[in-house]
Structures are given as structure tokens and as C-alpha cells.
């Protein structure tokens, strides 16, 4: 099986929970989950010129799809009062920096004992350029 097929197969067994700050500098973060980081990064990247902004996930957690879905629900419940209710913007946590959201996500994972791991710092921020490297890492260190 070639590398690309192997990576696609692996990502069916894993979901990613990502956090990134507002690219325009607002004190807010986008949180979300994906089973296909490549497409998600491509979509987020298309809104800006690549010369000015490269879409990236500044913090990434990985685990089984069920665990990641449960994590997202727990995070959204925790930040309920800071999440914009308007349609299409329900993944934005307002008035919180990347580091505070990330720290709280870590606390939630520990408090629920979610079987979820954080992608190490040397693979962050995750972009289209280092995505394959990250997937290979996940394959080598599954839960």
C-alpha cells in the first residue's frame, strides 16, 4: 500500500481537534474537529492570499472519532457563554487567547480522562506543509 493510501486509511480511525487564533488578531479562537485535516486546511487557506497568511492549526489533539466528538461537546459546554450563537460562527470562542483555551482543553481532557493525545510542539503549527509528517507521527504513537 502506498504512503498516501496508508495515511488516508489511518485518518479514518482518528479525528483531530484543532484550535487556532483569529488570523486578524482578535482575542478569540476557533475550535473544531475534523477527520480530514488536509481539506479543512485547504478551505481555511483559500480565503487569504498565501503570501499574507498560511492556514494553520496552532494546537492539535488526536484520538478516536467518538472521543474527539465528546471532547468538542465538553469544550463547547465549558465555553458556552463565550461562543457566538450566530449561525456559522458557533466554533468561535470569544475573549479567550489560544493559550487559555488550550490550557482549558488540556484540563477537560484530564478531567474526563479522554483517550486523546496532543500533537507535540515540534509538529505545530500544523499546516499543509507538515501534515504528512504529523500523520506519520500519529500512526507511530496511537492511543
Amino acid at each position: 500500500m502506498d504512503c498516501e493510501k496508508r495515511r488516508r486509511r489511518l485518518m479514518k480511525r482518528f479525528s483531530l481537534f484543532y484550535i487556532f487564533p483569529c488570523p486578524l488578531g482578535d482575542n478569540s479562537c476557533k475550535i473544531g474537529l475534523t477527520t480530514n485535516a488536509r481539506i479543512r486546511l485547504e478551505v481555511y487557506g483559500m480565503s487569504y492570499s498565501n503570501r499574507k497568511h498560511t492556514a494553520s492549526f496552532d494546537s492539535i489533539y488526536y484520538g478516536s472519532p467518538t472521543a474527539i466528538i465528546n471532547l468538542e461537546a465538553a469544550v463547547k459546554t465549558h465555553f458556552y457563554d463565550y461562543i457566538e450563537p450566530s449561525g456559522g460562527r458557533t466554533e468561535w470562542v470569544l475573549d479567550h487567547s489560544l493559550s487559555t483555551v488550550d490550557q482549558q482543553v488540556q484540563n477537560i481532557i484530564n478531567g474526563h480522562r479522554f483517550k486523546i493525545k496532543k500533537l507535540p510542539q515540534h509538529l505545530l503549527p500544523l499546516t499543509l506543509h507538515n501534515l504528512n509528517e504529523a500523520i506519520d507521527f500519529i500512526q507511530k504513537t496511537p492511543n
Binding site: 484520538g63 450566530s86 484540563n107
Partner: protein, 392 residues
């Protein structure tokens, strides 16, 4: 006025309702509480008031953030056919079966047994003159009225609409003629619709959460005992899950509270231990039904059958569960998935359980026996190899 207009505009969407509700709470209240379409958390709201007394107007303002305010106010003037109250003699009360259900003697008996004079919901009726006799036709509360008669009442409370005073315009608008037969038909139609609306469409069943909170706050001994166990374990009864330690499966918690030991006593001990384990292992999670309930049943079975489950057992079992699945929701889902795989592949032995609580309890026993087996456990009626279907 400006504020009301903006509220009206914002109640059109779910997002708008959340926004306006939250904004009002943030602006006016020190202690925050949930404002959602299915429930406004009045108990937390009450903490903002001296003595916990909330003026109804404040609740009404919050309601306006969740529902569009009514623009048309129907005519409630008794002189124009609006409803009014009266004490009515027995001989004036009647029933028209076209807009009432059959009478149930056993239901009357049940109300009669628990009857208290201060807990009577006023029966509803339409007042009509038929063949020269004025009657109050009951369309809601017939059983209550019969119980009042059994209790010796000579006059009966009635909330009624006088059909003779309903305007011709209203009758015509509903599609009936304005002569006497038309007026009677309109009265029956109105009563039938009201009966269905009150007893079927708009009946809001008392939620288990509301029931337990009322019982706690009014001093019911069993509810207080349950609440002591729940509070001791740093849990809290809640309507919705989400908060750490939130216990939403209240009827099931009561079921576990009722589990007794071999002498038929010590209620609550198994619920207590199950909640303690849950909170210790998963401190930020809401209480998961198919974790605490199977644990409580397992503890009880062990007790009844003479097996001693020491504290080390809880540590061994939960460490194993966490290492395999992690969080409590994934654990119970994982055990059930494993069960169904064995069931469909026909690889299990014994009698398959017919309820999730028993499936998970069997899964816990099987898993412990397969991976640890330090101490003996009660036998599992259905044995299969429990594994994480995602990982294996």
C-alpha cells in the same frame, strides 16, 4: 420600547434567543443562570433575590427573550363571553360526552385516597342553556368534581365561559351560525378543543428534575437522603448534562438508591459508592448513567452473594476501563459495542441480557475476570471477550 422591539426581532432564530437571553442575564443579574427555550433555571435565578422570591414580571421579561411576544390579546372580559369563576350547585352541573372522555372509577378512587382540600385545580366548564335549563358542562376536571362530591361538597368551584354572552362575531368567525343551535354547536366545539388542548397537546409532564427538586425543597425524607448522597459526592441534580458531576438520570439514581443489602436495608449505599468512584476517576465529567448504574448493581449483587469488593477493586477496574476507553461515555459505549459484536458473531456464552444496565454490568465482570481476576466476582450470566472494537 426600543428594547422590546429588539427582543422581538431577535427571537426569530435560535441564535437570537440565546443572545438576547444571555444579554439580559448578564446585564441584570450577579449570579448567572441558564435561559433556554426548554427551561429557565429558576432555582439559580432565585439566588439573586433576598429570600429567593422572584417577582413574576422578572420571569416574564426573560420569557420574552425566548418566545415572540403576543400581539393579539384575545378578549377576556366576562361580560363579552370571557371566562369567570363561580361556586355552582350540584344540580346545575352536567356532562356532555361529545367533548369528554369516559369516567374512570379507579382514577377517582386514586384521587380520593390522596385528596386534600388545598390541592384542587378548579374544573373548567361552558355554561349553556339547553331546552330552558341552564347547565354548566364540565370539559376538564370531571374526575375532580366527582371526588369533591364524595368529599361532601354542596357547591363546586367552576371556571366557566357563558356561551350566551359570546359575541356573534366570534361564533361566525369560527364557522357556526348565530342562531341557538349554532351557538350550542359552537360551545361544544370550543369545549372539545379546549379539552384536547389542555389534556393532550399542551400537557407538560413534570420533569424528573423538577420533581426531585420540589421534593427536596419541601422536605421529602427519601429525596433528602438521596440529595445527601449526591451532595456528599460533589454531584448535583441537573436538568441537562455538561457540568462536572451533573446527575441528570434522576429516576435511575432513585432506582440505584433503592437497592438494598441482604437484610433488605441500607438503601443508598450502592449509589453512594458508585457516585464516589465516578467522581474520583472522572472529576470533570457529568455522571454517566451506564457507568454508575451497572456499578451500583454489581456492588449489590456482590453483597447479596457474599463477595467482598474491596477498595482496590474499584481502582483496578477503573484503571483498566480508562486505559481501554478513557472517558465514561466512551467506556459504556465501548462495552456495549463489544457486547453486540459478540452477540451477532455468536461468540458469547450464556443468556444474553435484555437491558443495557445488565449488559454493561456483565461486561465489567467479564473484563475484570479476563484482565485482572485478583478477587472473585459474582458470575456473569453472559460471557464474552470484552475488547475495544476500535483498537483491536
Amino acid at each position: 420600547m426600543q428594547q422590546i422591539v429588539s427582543v422581538i426581532n431577535n427571537t426569530k432564530t435560535k441564535a437570537g434567543r440565546k443572545q438576547t437571553g444571555q444579554a439580559l442575564v448578564k446585564k441584570n443579574y450577579k449570579i448567572k443562570f441558564d435561559v433556554k427555550p426548554d427551561a429557565i433555571d429558576l432555582r439559580t435565578m432565585a439566588e439573586n433575590y433576598p429570600n429567593g422570591i422572584i417577582p413574576l414580571e422578572d420571569i416574564n421579561q426573560l420569557l420574552l427573550t425566548q418566545i415572540p411576544p403576543r400581539m393579539d390579546h384575545s378578549d377576556w372580559d366576562p361580560q363579552k363571553g370571557g371566562p369567570q369563576f363561580a361556586w355552582v350547585e350540584w344540580s346545575q352541573l352536567a356532562l356532555d360526552p361529545t367533548f369528554q372522555r369516559d369516567v374512570a372509577p379507579n382514577h377517582i378512587s386514586k384521587i380520593d385516597r390522596e385528596f386534600v382540600h388545598s390541592a384542587v385545580i378548579v374544573p373548567c366548564a361552558i355554561k349553556m342553556t339547553v331546552a330552558g335549563h341552564t347547565w354548566y358542562f364540565i370539559w376538564d376536571g370531571h374526575h375532580t368534581t366527582q371526588v369533591l362530591r364524595l368529599q361532601g361538597y354542596t357547591h363546586f368551584p367552576v371556571w366557566y365561559v357563558d356561551m350566551d354572552k359570546v359575541s356573534e362575531a366570534e361564533i361566525e368567525q369560527a364557522g357556526f351560525s348565530i342562531d341557538i343551535p349554532g351557538r350550542i354547536k359552537y360551545g361544544k366545539w370550543r369545549a372539545g378543543n379546549n379539552m384536547i388542548m389542555i389534556n393532550s397537546r399542551n400537557k407538560r409532564k413534570l420533569a424528573a428534575y423538577d420533581e426531585i427538586m420540589i421534593k427536596i425543597e419541601t422536605g421529602d425524607s427519601k429525596a433528602l437522603a438521596m440529595n445527601n448522597i449526591v451532595s456528599k459526592n460533589n454531584c448535583i441534580f441537573k436538568r441537562h448534562p455538561g457540568a462536572p458531576g451533573a446527575l441528570t438520570q434522576i429516576k435511575s439514581a432513585e432506582e440505584c438508591y433503592d437497592l438494598t443489602d441482604s437484610r433488605g436495608g441500607n438503601e443508598g449505599q450502592y449509589l453512594d459508592r458508585a457516585l464516589a468512584v465516578h467522581r474520583q476517576v472522572w472529576p470533570m465529567a457529568s455522571i454517566e448513567l451506564e457507568i454508575f448504574r451497572p456499578l451500583a448493581y454489581l456492588y449489590q449483587r456482590a453483597g447479596l452473594e457474599g463477595y467482598k469488593l474491596d477498595p482496590q477493586f474499584d481502582i483496578e477496574l477503573t484503571d483498566l476501563l480508562v486505559s481501554m476507553w478513557g472517558d465514561p461515555a466512551s467506556i459504556q459505549t465501548g462495552i456495549k459495542e463489544s457486547y453486540w459484536r459478540a452477540y451477532h458473531d455468536n461468540t458469547g456464552k450464556g443468556t444474553p441480557p435484555d437491558h443495557d444496565k445488565t449488559r454493561v454490568m456483565c461486561g465489567l465482570i467479564n473484563l475484570y475476570n479476563q484482565k485482572i481476576a485478583r478477587i472473585p466476582l459474582p458470575s456473569s450470566p453472559y460471557i464474552w471477550t470484552v475488547k475495544n472494537e476500535d483498537a483491536d
